[in-house]
């Protein structure tokens, strides 16, 4: 798609002359792919196939064609959840891509190897804390007995205190702020890897050109880390679009009203609470479609020199 003739030629030249016979390749692929098909594709196809049915688990499914989708596109709750996803997604997307980047830059600039290592360990250890616990901590930050209320009371800002998670004006942002300061270990480390990978010669050249640190960040670091940025964009988006764990634990049902409803949660509620698995599957299929389109767009807009099958 994106290859110039010379690029193609270069790749072909880099390809080894001798290849093992096809049957060896296919028989090696057999085990991984049969696992994939048996444990993922069969249930996934079943789930997605149910998008065209009316299915209450425990009873046979009834074929209903496209009616789930027609209903979905007129469902005010679903539309509201999309609007929330847009707000929440944009926020999460921006902070999860920029703040880890800045933190990685800072760690990269720490001259002492020991401090830099300590910083990375401090980022990695919290990754083993289960999400449930993290969300619980946030519940206790937001509650009436919580830190946020205590701090505002201490400052005499009593009018600024809300029931953060239950007030219509604040709930969505309270959910969005969970995870502050957003320096998620995985993201920081991936950026850090990109920085550490930039050849010293390029950095030296930048210094000779008299680029300031901001200039270096914008003109050298970012262009050379597009691969990392693309990876994180895709991983973040999969998380944002399919995710609902934080909302589920913090506001339970996407309330107050539907202020914090997101499509993932709506899918979950339909499947497990309202017993409308077919409808849930339709939501899932739509989300999958969004993600595929999004991934294709990202792969088109953020191109790297790295070889990609099918590219």
């Amino acid at each position: 798609m994106n290859s110039t003739p010379s690029g193609k030629a270069r790749r072909r030249a880099g390809r080894p002359a001798g290849q093992p016979s096809l049957w060896i390749i296919y028989s090696l692929l057999f085990v991984p792919f049969s696992l994939l098909v048996v444990f993922n594709y069969v249930p996934a196809m079943s789930a997605l196939g149910h998008a065209f049915t009316d299915w209450d688990p425990g009873k046979p499914a009834v074929w209903t064609g496209l009616s789930n989708f027609q209903q979905l596109l007129q469902d005010p709750i679903f539309l509201k959840s999309l609007a929330n996803l847009a707000k929440l997604g944009l926020f999460v997307f921006v902070v999860n891509l920029t703040i880890p980047f800045l933190v990685a830059e800072m760690i990269f600039h720490l001259r002492s190897e020991r401090w830099s290592y300590a910083a990375r360990v401090a980022l990695v250890l919290p990754m083993i804390v289960p999400g449930v616990v993290v969300y619980m901590i946030w519940q206790y930050i937001y509650s009436d007995a919580g830190i946020l209320t205590a701090v505002l009371e201490g400052l005499g800002l009593n009018n600024w205190i809300y029931g953060w998670l239950s007030h219509p004006k604040t709930a969505l942002w309270a959910v969005a702020f969970v995870g502050f300061p957003f320096a998620h270990g995985f993201n920081v480390l991936i950026y850090y890897a990109g920085l550490a990978n930039i050849p010293q010669s390029i950095l030296d050249a930048a210094e000779v050109d008299g680029l300031g640190s901001a200039g270096k960040m914008l003109r050298i670091h970012i262009p050379l880390m597009l691969g990392q940025i693309r990876l994180l964009t895709i991983v973040t988006m999969i998380g944002v679009i399919n995710g609902f764990e934080s909302v589920y634990i913090l506001t339970r049902d996407g309330g107050p009203g539907y202020e914090t409803m997101v499509p993932g949660l709506y899918m979950f509620l339909n499947g497990f609470v309202f017993e409308r698995m077919g409808y849930a599957a339709a939501i899932g299929l739509l989300l999958l479609f969004f993600l595929l389109v999004f991934t294709l767009l990202i792969n088109r807009f953020i191109r790297t020199e790295d070889y990609e099958p099918g590219a």
Partner: protein, 489 residues
Amino acid sequence: MAAVLGFCGGVATCEAQALGGKPILVDLGPYTPGTIPAGIGEPVQESRRIADEWEKSQPGRRIKYQTMISTGTTEGEWLKTQLIGGIAPEIVTMNTEVAWQAIDKDWFVPLDEFFQRPNTYIPGNEHWMDSFANPALTNSKRAPNGKLYCLTLDTVETGFFYNKTLLNKLGIAGPPETWSEMLDSFKVIQDAGITPMTAQFNIASDWGQDIVFEMIYHDLLPSLDPIPSPPDIKDYQVNFLDPQEAGFLFTKGFFSSRDPRWREVNRLVKEWRQYWARELKFSDPLRLFFTGRLAVLWDGSWTIRRLAKDPYINFEWGIGYVPAITQETSRYASGSPATLIGGAATQVHITNSAVNNGTLEDCVDFLMFLSAPQNIERITNEALMFMPNVKGAKMDERLQPFSEIFKRKSCAIQWMEAMDPEYKKVWRRWLDYYLEDGFSQEEYLKVLDENFAAWVKSHEGDAAWDFTQMEATWQTRKEVLLRELDPVR
């Protein structure tokens, strides 16, 4: 695609069943061995000992306890998958309303037939049902199809735990006698920078609504109730509105924006709400109360254990109850005492696993053994959270204040349990939204009307929702009742 749909859609039967010597799996909720009540003290063990004694009398039978795992939702994804697969424990404990949603799936075994048999472990007993301390309460858990799916082992009550020291400091003498006194004292407490009242998990709005509803409708209920409660539950529930009765009355205009009492209930709940914690869902009331930042904690009898054993609490506490609404507060009030919130606690069910495994008779026999007074008192007194629902079982004296509260009548309807989950969730959601100023009262009443209508419509063609009999009663009372709607305002 057809093949794919085929194997996933149907109920699959479980293969690995009916193996000889397989133990009966039992989840007894808070009494499952190893559970630590309220996270305080030693794990409970009595139920294990009782099972050991039963096993001795039943050679070859074995009981294995298993904690039914909760992922934090009442719906229980875990149980649902186990039931679909036919591999759930034989005996499970949960709110029986959950079982009502699954009547058409045969996941649970109706127990009516067994309740008519004698409980051989109680000398002289002719019908198991007669052995319960409160048969009316037990019967009140009947599903809409008229069958009883649960055995109610014990009862639970809620009350106002109040911080005496704090109230005295603020010059409030004692628990309020009337509703308006309560609101006045709450105002004093709030002005002093202390949260006046709250309950755990957003339950105040749920309980509060039922309690206010009963007090506002109290005088009207005898003529409103289209089908009188069956005699076997009269001692507990008078003029209780079943879901279908509530649905029927809605079609006549009650519980809608046309009904002035309905407006009054919603006004009062909202007025009350301003004295609750700011956060509706997770205000952390226990921590607020234990550390002296909350005046009144509305909670269940299980909290006694917590308060009594907490070495860090430096205030005196007492137990009271919701005061009556009087004419001073509302023209619809009769001054009748507030009804109780609570009722059945540990509700035990037998699942389809017992049928599949051929252990149904054994399960029933074990439950009879367990619910004999000499055994049930051992487990309820060990846990110290609930009052046994069996005649002749002795109750620990620390639970006495709650058995006083339990002399009150049940509320006229438990709204949040009455509605099917989908509609209940919608209601609950908008109730919170209304209480948080997301909606004006008019907007709120409008969505409630719509939700009610959708709920009633979803039961079209449902045999339990046949309105014929209610319609006949309605015709005789219509004149009087219609006057209560759409008054000139």
